[in-house]
Symmetry: C2
Subunit: 140 residues, 2 copies
Amino acid sequence: VNGKKSKQILIAVDTSEYSNKAFKYACNLARDSESELQILHVIENFVDVGYSISKELENTGRRTLHKYDARARSVGLLSVNTILAKGNPAEEILKVADKKNINIIVVGSRGHYASLSDYLLGSTSYKLAHYSKCTVVIVK
Amino acid sequence: VNGKKSKQILIAVDTSEYSNKAFKYACNLARDSESELQILHVIENFVDVGYSISKELENTGRRTLHKYDARARSVGLLSVNTILAKGNPAEEILKVADKKNINIIVVGSRGHYASLSDYLLGSTSYKLAHYSKCTVVIVK
């Protein structure tokens, strides 16, 4: 009965609409298992983009986290935390999972190979499935 | 609130103890979302093993399904179905998911590269993460 009681759930969100469904899944899971929700946004550093674009990506990341934080609280979650990271998404997700003793990682999945960025996110869930030490939910 | 309401949950079990944790997760999920639980066992056909070994694998598969079916009912699930398949695990899981209109696939994950069979199961969750059209939970 207590198999799904978990203490820490990590949801990784990007700025696309694809994160919405995964986020909803994570909120339900956090509520049902009375877990703390960690909301992570990773700024991908593909190439060296320069200061102003870098600042813009940071602002967008913060706005995204703020939006999801508000949404988590609006559905009644009391224990919510946001994290902004920079780097390779899969690597950053795994780092946070280790550091915060995450029990379940929730990520969304986009259509395959529709574009470069779709491919890269696909590749994130692929890596998590393989390298994560905790349970991973890939929401489609 | 009804984001995680799903109608059909598929749990793939093998004969190892690694399936136990994933099975527990699937049962909790099925109970909380009032879903039907489909329990699948895939007999892997690595090589042509001959009639008597093939029969033995089939018997073991049936016993495994029977054990998990009894366990699902013992925790109060009313709507439980078992399926025995033969072939490549990932392919068979995806086929059943399509055929039965599965909403969430639950699979266990073993340690990586500890043995050939560990490697193969790892590779199953890897493929599911990538090719499944529905949400996949990889229980560790």
